[in-house]
């Protein structure tokens, strides 16, 4: 798979269409983000499949925003899976990225990963490597919804109680680009003390994921307490779809996102 990605990247770099390609590289025995700029120096490129498919994915879009903003005359390529492409679409709709200066290089995820992620669309619209796998429903969400309300609440309170307030979920999130974060503002949460307020800290984050989360799962992977954040945000996405007929990154981006957010609060 990586050979096809490498070939495409080489083409893009050699033609001068992009100044650099933000992908992954193995160096010093570890796989991490890397900006490839030389078409003849692509050895060690990785697609983020380690022991299991997709287990060494990184928040490349988050880094891309900074890169594109800093080097205003250049275009950059970026490795995208289905989720990353959803991220790009939403970031472009929110004016965080200039589509003229971003060249995605697509990778379709294997079924094993699509199953693990419960991903509805495990492939970008266009991809140069991988094969289209079947989307999966949100089984984790259904499992929780099968519980009675009181039990559900207990389950979530118990999960949130494990939180050590590392801010990893927010710091890794490719969609968290706010200069001032609500979770760092003393008007909304207790700043500088532990434990985080349960459940208001986590509900606040979850609400901020409405219309924003593109279901990449990096938050759950970054959580040292193994809180199933992704499942919670999948539920938020279901609610947003119900009320606003909008799921970030799927279908057409909501044009009003840049100014009005999702829209008026549902009246019921």
């Amino acid at each position: 798979m990586v050979e096809k990605i490498k070939a495409r990247v080489q083409e893009l770099l050699a033609s001068g269409k992009i100044k650099g390609f933000l992908g992954l590289r193995e160096r010093y025995g570890h796989v991490g983000p890397y900006l490839f700029t030389d078409p003849n120096d692509l050895d060690g490129m990785s697609v983020g499949d380690g022991a299991k498919p997709g287990d060494t994915r990184y928040s490349l879009n988050k880094q891309l925003i900074r890169l594109v903003r800093c080097y205003q005359d250049d275009a950059f390529g970026v490795l995208v899976r289905g989720c990353d492409e959803r991220g790009l679409k939403t970031l472009i709709a929110s004016n965080q990225l200039d589509p003229a200066r971003v060249v995605p290089v697509g990778l379709a995820c294997p079924q094993e990963l699509a199953d693990a992620c419960e991903c509805m669309k495990p492939y970008p619209d266009e991809y140069v490597a991988g094969e289209q796998a079947e989307g999966r429903p949100f089984a984790g969400v259904a499992q929780i919804e099968a519980m009675a309300m009181e039990e559900r609440f207990k389950v979530w309170l118990a999960e949130f109680a494990k939180c050590v307030k590392c801010y990893g979920c927010r710091d890794v999130c490719p969609m968290c680009y706010c200069k001032e974060c609500t979770l760092g503002s003393k008007d909304f949460v207790n700043v500088g003390t532990l434990p985080p307020q349960n459940p208001i800290f986590h509900i606040t984050r979850a609400l901020h994921m409405a219309g924003r989360c593109i279901d990449c799962g990096l938050c759950s992977e970054a959580c040292p307490a193994d809180i199933p954040l992704r499942t919670l945000y999948k539920k938020i996405a279901d609610l947003v779809d119900q009320e606003y007929q909008y799921r970030p990154g799927y279908g057409e981006p909501k044009a009003s996102l840049t100014i009005h957010g999702l829209g008026d609060a549902p009246q019921h």
């Binding site: 983000p33 590392c166 990893g168 970054a222």
Partner: protein
């Protein structure tokens, strides 16, 4: 164009988590935990996540400072050390060795920690040895 992801180890505690420091134009802009590290497995604590902030912080101590006439003044290492020795001796003389405490560090070598506790116990004469995590 200067954009790098530099693999390194956290300076804070004895765990030594692995992460990438994102460098843009010679400045640290972000911290990215390493997914392939057997130690931290792509996760970090709050100190690790914000480690890039302190390196270039204007609050960072870059030279010895001595308070003279109520004002912190840059001095040489020799002057700073001479002052420290003089005052430690005076405090020990006036209040006894247990009026002084020492804070060792998770991030220095075992040998350096041995030295500090040896200094505390043998040179100053106190058992008041604790750890930087208490700060």
């Amino acid at each position: 164009m200067d954009y790098r992801n530099v693999l390194t180890t956290c300076t804070y505690c004895g765990c030594g988590c692995t992460f990438y420091l994102e460098v843009l134009d010679g400045h640290l802009v972000n911290t990215i935990p390493c997914k392939t590290s057997n130690l931290n497995e792509g996760k970090l604590c709050v100190k690790g996540w914000s480690v890039h902030e302190f390196v270039e912080s204007p609050n960072r101590l870059t030279q010895p400072l001595l308070r003279k006439d109520g004002k912190l003044t840059p001095v040489s290492w020799d002057e700073a050390l001479d002052f420290t020795v003089k005052r430690l001796k005076e405090i020990k003389e006036a209040n006894g060795p247990d009026s002084i405490a020492f804070l060792a560090s998770a991030k220095v070598t075992n040998e350096e920690n041995y030295l500090i506790q040896k200094f505390a116990r043998a040179a100053v004469g106190t058992n008041n040895v604790d750890h930087c995590a208490r700060l």
